[in-house]
Symmetry: C4
Subunit: 193 residues, 4 copies
């Protein structure tokens, strides 16, 4: 199987997810500057989710860069990841419109957790196919980011019911540790190229 | 004609169909967990349709993998398939929002039946062009899945008026028998590669 | 300049136009079969516009198949075509929801006329770049379809105010004469390949 | 890293932005020609934004034409540009629906300014990677358009509160000076090819 089509399809879905999220920023009827104020939390949660989709796209790119063949298992693991990412517009809108109310914030974290899990499964599927000594396995190494992130999402879910803003802060914190592109993979790939 | 553009266009349409279906999951105004409860059937029908679009994308991939040239007939057979798939967001939303009410469930099945028929026509068009001894023809073999699926959809349409949940169960059952990627084609193609 | 990116961008826009048109088919609240009845004209105008977008995609494919280089002029001629095509969801929805009322039907025809004109300009731009003896010029030949279509749209616009259904019939008629893929171009290209 | 995927993803996002902007042209309930009149400013602001997205797509094309490798920095600079462009449907809708009311017009200009800044940063990132003697650096030369545009947007923002139509005219003026494809880059690239 060709990986090109899987990449093109994933790019398409991610591009649409990003652009659909912005639709939650509904054009206000009023024309005063104040009309933007209630949109601020919607805007901020859009920024956060944009960052996440950007990170997923970036990492997806790295993941398949070192992949040659795509098995049926990898294909469905990828669709599974896209499924959870496709729920981002919903959770982003719900959290943003309700100013980080407890339940929407917890549900946002739950979908982040499921997406991270789906990403982990996809990564495993690729490494399994490539073998233990694979390029990707050595590039990922200890994968501390991949282990820390779901742990922080997991903590954030109950936390959201007590201190939703701290949960939101943790989502941002995880985004920021991923924001720095994964130099490990880049370095190993650069050595190979 | 190049098959790349046909694949790219189909990937685009399928990617947008998937992401547009999720728009039926409308952000609730309430912030309680209970606000998600009425969305559950909409969510479940989204999962089912996501699975279907994933299966169509997966099989579409296989279908054109063994194809070199694309005739005008294949091109329109492909657009015909995309037409029926483009109605998925509508039927998914109608069935989901009405908790598998009889008519929407029957209409959902009708669109599944038409998409399956369109897929069959596309498959025929490719085999006709490649010749009877084609790679695809031998890979498909008896094509029991391709014959069973429309039969089950056909039964489900009247059944939906009597026992809509059984019809819904049949739609899920057909999705699951396709979910397992088509090892037959994969095997034959692997031999060739 | 590479034509790949122009093709990919155009495919993306066309894929989204098709899928956005289907959003005009709004999920009804009622669950009876009768609830679909008022949607019938919307559905039929969707079918007509789907056919048109399919034809434009198909012909666009042919147009650029024989093109190697893309000048700035061709690039903007292409964007100009996409602009008019991007108005299809609007005119399709307006005509469909109002059961071919005179003004919406005339406006639908006007956008068809502008799209046909934009296509003609794009075709001219490509031929100008390739030279009079170009592959495309000889493939198109007398281009009777390309000349008849705008003439019929032009007639349909005033006609829509008197007999909207005849105007609608003319739109369908033009779609059907294009529906048959352009064998002329296919034949010439097949000779070359 | 491959630039293909970055281009494909950017094309996808730009294609969706264009098509989502047209959704602000909401299908009117009335069927008279007069029903289109209130849509005129929405339509005109759509035309302006379509022109802008077309220009960005065109220039993006040039920018990456001369690029071979894509670093992590370029990747995020590109996502940063797409972020600001993704706000175009919102600002276009707000400005258009309110007939160039002061605040929406100023906000429209602010997003134009941020997009221009993001484009400048992306251009810098590519030149930095390629080195001072790079193809792109020599192609851009004095970059008077790139310097004039943000200056005019900057002036337009306060001006929008006093004379919104002049601000709108300046946005159109900037679009028109970019509309003419960047012959400098084309010339240099043509020499190289």
């Amino acid at each position: 199987m060709q990986k090109n089509r899987l990449e093109a399809f994933s790019d398409g879905v991610l591009a649409i997810i990003i652009t659909i999220m912005v639709l939650e920023l509904k054009v206000p009827h009023a024309v005063e500057f104040a009309a933007l104020k209630p949109l601020l939390p919607v805007f901020l949660s859009y920024v956060l989710s944009f960052l996440y989709v950007g990170i997923y796209w970036n990492n997806h790119h790295h993941l398949f860069h070192s992949t040659q063949h795509v098995s049926g298992g990898i294909l469905w693991a990828n669709l599974h990841l896209l499924f959870w990412l496709s729920l981002f517009p919903f959770t982003t809108g719900w959290m943003g419109e309700n100013h980080l109310a407890p339940t929407p914030t917890a549900v946002y974290g739950f979908v982040l957790l499921m997406a991270a899990t789906a990403y982990y499964i996809l990564q495993r599927a690729i490494i399994t196919q490539q073998g233990r000594d694979s390029l990707l396995a050595s590039a990922i190494g200890s994968d501390w980011k991949g282990k820390l992130s779901p742990a922080l999402y997991f903590i954030s879910i109950p936390l959201a019911f007590v201190r939703p803003w701290i949960a939101g802060g943790l989502y941002l914190f995880v985004a920021l540790i991923w924001f720095i592109p994964d130099r490990r993979i880049e370095r190993v790939l650069a050595n190979v190229d």
